[in-house]
């Protein structure tokens, strides 16, 4: 059974111990949007939800500010003995992660289902 929550920028669904966070904005650009998107995800680890799938299907590209937030998120989750998986990356987002050599830092999957299964 999954539990569903939503906001303007982010949709959250829990599958057992794993939380799927689906971004609903194609652009993560200004500070307000970045905070609105990432603060709730950061807060997950505060309540023990340390297994997170971040679905980036709607994201056209990731500016450097958002890359930094992803790195911080990954670090925060790992500190809590959790794991972060990314899925549904566009070719542009994939390329940015490869260009910045962050593709080795993250667990990346083509689909949300495969990302969820990686936690099994």
């Amino acid at each position: 059974m999954s539990i569903h929550h939503g906001s303007h920028w982010l949709e959250r669904e829990d599958f057992g111990r794993v939380t799927v966070a689906r971004l609903k904005t194609p652009k993560i650009l200004d500070d307000d949007v970045i905070r609105a998107v990432f603060d709730p995800i950061y807060a997950l680890s505060s309540v023990g939800r340390n297994h997170v799938v971040l679905n980036l299907a709607t994201v056209d590209y990731l500016p450097s500010m958002a890359l930094g937030k992803l790195v911080m998120l990954s670090r925060r989750i790992e500190v809590g003995n959790g794991r972060l998986a990314l899925c549904r990356l566009s070719p542009a987002v994939q390329e940015v992660l490869e260009t910045t050599r962050l593709n080795d830092l993250f667990n990346i999957y083509p689909t949300e289902e495969e990302a969820l299964q990686s936690f099994a």
Binding site: L29, P63, L67, V71, T100, R101, L102
Partner: protein, 162 residues
Amino acid sequence: MICDRLELCQQDLVPREGSVQRWRHDTIQSLEDMERVIHMVTSGMESVGYSEKEVLTMRLATEEAIVNAHKHGHQRDWSRPFSVRHHLDANGVVIQVEDQGPGFDPQQVPDPLAPENLERASGRGLLLMRTYMSGVCHNERGNCVCLCKRRLTSPPGESADG
């Protein structure tokens, strides 16, 4: 390509009328201004037949440059305007972003690809600009960046063999 002289990479991309180069000038003082200018550039590129990837990478680099000016040059103070001027045609696109801040030395930015820096939360904007542009130049003070993108794809109706 990284060059140290602001004029070098845009000399042949920005035509002159006599001694005057043809630029379009804008002032940015809000997120809406930024979106407007970026839309003007990207829609202009689309109308001349640039590829989707060329348009997206130009958008990405321009956003990085403008966000850097706002964040580092003006400490996120939108009340301080900064200048953007651009020129685009079938041969390429040139954009200059100038803030009123103290500037910086781009040579002093830590290499974000160095293993010890991979997990830093910042410092990748310049790398992304340099990756996607034909050239990125700064003036001596470091408060003005010039992004040059030479066209890679042939305009519609022309073959790659010319």
